[in-house]
Symmetry: C2
Subunit: 323 residues, 2 copies
């Protein structure tokens, strides 16, 4: 991992919550001097601690080539946006509230050069909407990370209506220094690609449970061992090729008319929201968790992530005769 | 793999096409004497060759504890259904045509005991329909395997309206000798669970492509690296717990109304059917393949399967404090 040449372009991160800290770590590992803005006073204190903690985790996982202190030395944290003045790329990771983001963009733009690329880690607000708050909107885009940002390979770059494609392509090339497998989404669609596809599954799964046609446990087991057996190797369309398209068409004719088409929040989900269940975070969800169990799920996810990418790297992303 | 006590109950397999041969191999490895019926004359010759070929593959992959010939010695192949007379379990793997299956069941039932469990590997015809063709329908069920049957862990046992649950549970316990992670689907739903969930994804993915909102390549890349990073570890509902249910509800409100609800075969799929494209099988699909490339996808899938299950086995299927 991380056998790339380090990249020494100064970059900014605004917002040092869980996600922002994790992204700052990813950028530090890639070699960037990181200028981090903590708009919330508590993050000004907690942010650097979170970052150091995660760097120690990276060290243990074998992700670092230098000691932890080497990376910490490349980090500056402040509440003062003028810290961003030499950054060529600034990533916003603040709460998903339009007004807050608008205020943050005003401060970023008034403290950076006109050609500084500005990106949001949002997964809830359309890029074309956020883009309007930024002067020179062609330099604005979505850059969507997955947790933990220093370990996952997923990175979705999303263009708004006004984004210049060559700017998105510049971030795409930068993302390889971050050890990512980036994609560029040329249109700003609601929910991005992976979210859309996953919520299509959630909708159907929740509907099957409601109708008593399967159990939560069996659905998870079946999916882990069926979809899990090809997902990382093939993706969706390659899988359809592999199964054989004619069979797919036969099954489509039978299955599409039976699929759930609801727009509403399913009852079981609404009930859990009313009960303030938040999954592993509150020990109550589709499954129940003790605090220790929840912690072990977090740890196991990080470890599994490392393992599955190690496995994926053994297989070519495409098989061509001349490879 | 296959560290289980071998199971010496005689079992029958009817139909020795690609799937039937592969299932026969799985049953031979588990220790069963296998009585295989080849209703098609060409399979009477080709079936045993396919089985031997796959046993050699298993040998190379380290799945066998005895020499290939040891397993071959437990196999009998015939066109004569009386070979099934001592079987306690018979699996039907013939073509997905109701009339053919009906005729096959008549022959199975007239050559076996009344308490012999009969199962179909169908993924297209409802179990409650097929069940009507069998005397003592409470002993009939769906047992749905994934290719290659001797390597994959997925096994979906589906009850029809008249299936006795204790019979399904007997097959469930037997399936552990086959090195499977079985599930029992108590109701006979169209498309079974994993198919329903996957076609919910296919519907949305095909719709995004049609609208030009993403590309085939980007969808596959994003899914391999996003969904792939947790699928085998968590499954669907655990993943929702892990993300936090409240966030899920917010996103549901935004995304469900945007999801595709079509019943029809998507145009891009229909066009490929008209052009007789069949994915890797004919070198033409969403991607193109030379014959050699298609063969390497087959090989890589088998290898990846072995690797991913090895990886899954490192992580507990559930995390509990007392584990």
């Amino acid at each position: 991992m991380n056998n790339f040449t380090p990249c020494d372009i100064p970059v900014g991160v605004v917002g040092l919550g869980l996600m922002g800290s994790s992204i700052a770590v990813a950028l530090l590992i890639a070699g960037h001097p990181v200028k981090a803005i903590a708009p919330l006073p508590e993050d000004n204190e907690l942010g650097p601690l979170r970052i150091k903690e995660q760097l120690i985790l990276c060290k243990i996982s074998g992700l670092l080539v230098h000691p932890v202190e080497y990376y910490v030395a490349s980090l500056q944290v402040s509440e003062d946006y003028s810290l961003l003045k030499n950054c060529q790329f600034v990533l916003e990771c603040v709460v998903e509230l339009i007004d807050v983001k608008n205020a943050v963009y005003k401060r970023i733009t008034s403290n950076t050069r006109q050609d500084c690329v500005i990106a949001s880690n949002t997964s809830a607000i359309p890029i074309s909407v956020l883009q309007q708050f930024v002067s020179h909107p062609e330099r604005f885009m979505g850059v969507h990370w997955a947790e933990p940002a220093y370990m996952t390979r997923f990175l979705e770059i999303t263009c708004g209506n006004q984004t210049a494609l060559h700017k998105a392509e510049w971030v795409f090339s930068l993302a390889h220094y971050w050890d990512k497998e980036p994609t560029i989404l040329r249109k700003d669609i609601r929910g991005f690609v992976t979210n859309r596809l996953m919520y299509a599954i959630y909708r159907e799964a929740l509907s099957l449970i409601k109708k008593g046609e399967t159990t939560i446990e069996d659905t998870d087991k079946a999916f882990r061992y069926d979809a899990g057996s090809w997902m990382t190797l093939m993706g969706i369309f390659r899988r359809m090729d592999f199964i054989g398209l004619k069979d797919n068409a036969e099954i489509i004719k039978n299955i599409f008319p039976k699929l759930n088409n609801d727009n509403e929040i399913p009852e079981i989900m609404q009930r859990m929201i009313d009960e303030k269940a938040k999954g592993t975070k509150t020990s109550v969800g589709f499954y129940n968790y003790t605090e220790e169990e929840a912690k072990r799920w977090e740890e196991n996810f990080a470890l599994f992530n490392r393992d599955i990418y190690g496995l994926a790297a053994k297989y070519p992303s495409d098989i061509v005769n001349h490879s």
